[in-house]
Symmetry: C2
Subunit: 491 residues, 2 copies
């Protein structure tokens, strides 16, 4: 067929870039590192947003909106935090342009310099905790459970569509609690919400775990994460949830009067997922023919392509399709009848295959005569003929079955590619020859972590929550270890 | 009662500012001119977004996302456009901070200066038309009907919550068409969509019209608008829709091959509404007791306040309320049962009055015994006792009736305050003594428009679409005029 993508086993990275552009998901813009999310890609992101937003609200969170700009002095208040973000941020220094006096065009007006520079938010802890100081006085104001959908900017030098862009879209939850215990429970809850979304909506299995100290968020005491395995065996961090302790409350002087009337600093969490999830979705399911979408996130779940010669035949098909469209839409199924006469059926088949539409129906003259449809499923690329009496049932079954099948396939792939090793040689061999996640004992030191990273490019993706206690010795230092951790090369 | 707001007839502007803050809608942030939209205010904005988004999709538009940053050279490509926005824009000049060498803190790294400055988008025509050049080759690619929900920045010197802020949230539609006629029809359609939303959802009557040349969007050939009258008689521009001609297509070289194979420049529109609508909503309906919300936009449509002494009584009420909550929610009605034991009923009554919840139910021991509820409606501040058998019907009726009543009241107020005048003396007298909109003949020149603005502060809000042809003479110049236009002082 005609979707001329590079094959995954030839060049996975090239395949990814071509697919993102050719399937109309996103493209690079004229602004360095910033992408344009195209309508089809954005429609998938909207479905992700809707799914997550409902889960946030069901767990008691409300949305709000905080400023895009962060005064430089705010960013500096939490030492680790500024260290983490200062090196890659967009800085607003002026508030006006003017015509150059020499007529050479439009220039920055030097008289319009800001007294204090503003940073385009790379994340919003500082501006939000500056606000929470005004909102929190008493234990009655807690917990404060707030989420924001927003754009953020991190001046990355090497960018890739969805995976790493200077500007990206995300949500960031910021919560305030009366006790350490509650804040930790919140951070854990949101990791679980993310895992549920990844597995239930994206059909993407994830490993829940804790980050090591060196991989923690700048300003966090503990970072919980979900890690997914891409088809090329590399890991992708799909979501993080941070227990921030009292760091930001102390930096921004946010105290509350406890039930006992004592002034105490507030406990905090923050958690986020971003348009990076689009990259994760693509690299979990898609194939050499194009995008493969789980039905729950597909903007078009079913497409119907008429096969006809002349307007009379098209009208006969349209008449037949009318009630089916209505019935499917009535059941909340998103269906498109592609009756464009500017493109041939073969072109349309290719287009919907490339765009990952889960179920495709074709109807020609013989189908009209026989009362049948040709039904194709995108995940297995198989086709069958289905009678019109059974078609609605069949579509419902397929949408459900494709969702399950994609999850199962990705699940099997992930767990087939987690390898336990007990020596550093074996570690390097597996990483080199098989890839995937390597489960190994580690002595808990940053030195060992750095050494492994330098020598193999693998990082500790997480200390899995589900990891059992098991006596062992560190691969590198030979020191005792009581738990295996997961290493991988990562996006 | 206890909502100590300044009265509207004492100081309308002060009343507005107090209400926005006290009703938990928004507040100023630590960043000059940027607001924090608080959860309750944001919940109203979310309802506006959902209503508008559905209307955009029903008229064939899709959402997408374009970069936050606009290279300075892009902004300069359309002459009127840069003239309109250069004087008030946030300019990013650097991409890194560093530790000052003298240890004085974090400073901008002079080595990280951008080659070309980036403007934080004040509107996105330029970056979008730069993109459309890649998307449009043939008539088959048209029309292109795209909308974006985004934040934008205009460096306003005097800001007011929702009405004029440096950063605000909005949607901006950007469409491309093969013909002038289609583009004009689109611009008109979107003005009508905005009017329908304002009147149908916000219960806010609007006048549809055209802007005069001096009030047009920078780069537009024609600006359509909806204008609303606030309670103090001032006008508020609630939405604009621009016919851009081929200006941006020419500036960004966007051509298409027509059916006849000719290369032609594309025709364009853009249209937007913003969080300014929140200000319009507040100033259309609210009263000295606080916010008044039309049920279609109220985050909480019905609140139930229990009146009790001790846990036993509360439990009896909760048991009674359970099935009612379920039934109302099943009907899609948003209802809150406020069983907080940290606050007294009187405090809660005040709170929901201040927050504009349309319907309030109270249940005490006598109600329990009699099988009744005390029902209060926010718009008229009236109360009645309703039997439990009739309560669901009553609530449905009230939500519908309040929506209609608010619209009717605002409609009557608006049309009672549009005054036709035929001399400049009368014009000044009406503007001074009565306010509102003044309908008068104008000679069509910018000179007269400016003279009137300088002398009275009134501007031409619009040339109403519905204005009849009528022979007359200009108030100021005495020259002939064939239509009345609307003047007012404006937000």
């Amino acid at each position: 067929m005609g979707n001329k993508l590079t094959k995954r086993n030839e060049d996975y990275s090239k395949w990814y870039n071509e697919l993102v552009v050719n399937a109309d998901l996103a493209e690079n813009s004229g602004v360095r590192g910033c992408m344009v999310i195209k309508p089809y890609g954005f429609a998938i992101w909207e479905k992700m947003q809707a799914g997550l937003d409902k889960m946030f609200k069901d767990t008691g969170h409300e949305n709000a909106y905080f400023p895009l700009f962060i005064p430089k002095s705010y960013l500096s208040k939490e030492a680790d935090h500024v260290e983490g973000f200062a090196k890659e941020c967009a800085v607003v220094t002026h508030y006006r342009l003017k015509n150059a006096e020499d007529g050479s065009g439009i220039v920055v007006d030097p008289d319009a310099r800001l007294e204090e520079e503003l940073i385009v938010r790379p994340t919003s802890e500082t501006i939000i905790w500056d606000t929470y100081r005004r909102w929190i006085q008493s234990y009655r104001d807690l917990p404060l459970l707030i989420n924001q959908w927003a754009n953020v900017v991190r001046w990355e030098m090497r960018t890739r569509l969805f995976l790493r862009t200077a500007e990206f879209l995300w949500q960031e939850g910021h919560t305030a609690h009366a006790t350490e215990k509650e804040a930790i429970e919140e951070a854990e809850q949101m990791m679980n919400v993310y895992a549920e979304f990844a597995e239930g909506h994206m059909a993407m299995p994830v490993i829940k775990g804790l980050k090591t100290e060196s991989e923690r968020f700048a300003g966090a005491l503990e970072t919980y994460c979900i890690e997914a395995m891409m088809q090329d065996g590399k890991a992708l961090q799909a979501g993080t949830s941070h227990f921030l302790g009292q760091n930001f409350a102390k930096a921004f002087d946010v105290k509350f009067a406890s039930k006992e009337g004592k002034q105490e600093h507030v406990w905090a969490t923050s958690w986020g997922v971003s348009t990076r999830l689009m990259g994760a979705l693509i690299m979990t399911h898609s194939d050499d023919n194009g995008l493969v979408l789980p039905p729950k996130l597909a903007p078009i779940q079913v497409v119907i392509v008429p096969i006809y010669k002349g307007m009379e035949q098209l009208e006969a098909i349209a008449e037949k399709i009318g009630p089916l469209l209505k019935e499917l839409r009535g059941k909340g199924i998103s269906v498109k009848f592609d009756d464009r006469d500017t493109h041939k059926p073969g072109f349309k088949f290719n287009e919907y295959e490339l765009k990952g539409v889960p179920v495709r129906l074709a109807v020609g003259q013989r189908d009209l005569a026989n009362g049948t449809f040709e039904v194709a499923r995108r995940d297995t690329l198989t086709k069958e003929t289905v009678s019109e009496n059974e078609i609605v049932q069949k579509i419902k079954f397929l949408l459900d079955d494709i969702q399950k099948n994609l999850y199962q396939k990705a699940h099997d792939f992930t767990y087939d590619n987690i390898t336990e090793v007990n020596s550093y040689d074996e570690f390097k061999k597996v990483l080199e020859e098989k890839g995937g996640f390597v489960s190994a004992h580690w002595d808990g030191t940053i030195e060992t972590e750095n050494k492994i990273k330098e020598e193999t490019k693998a990082t500790i993706r997480c200390i899995p929550i589900a990891a059992k206690n098991e006596e062992g010795t560190c691969l590198v230092s030979g020191k005792p270890s009581s738990k295996r951790v997961l290493f991988a090369k990562a996006y």
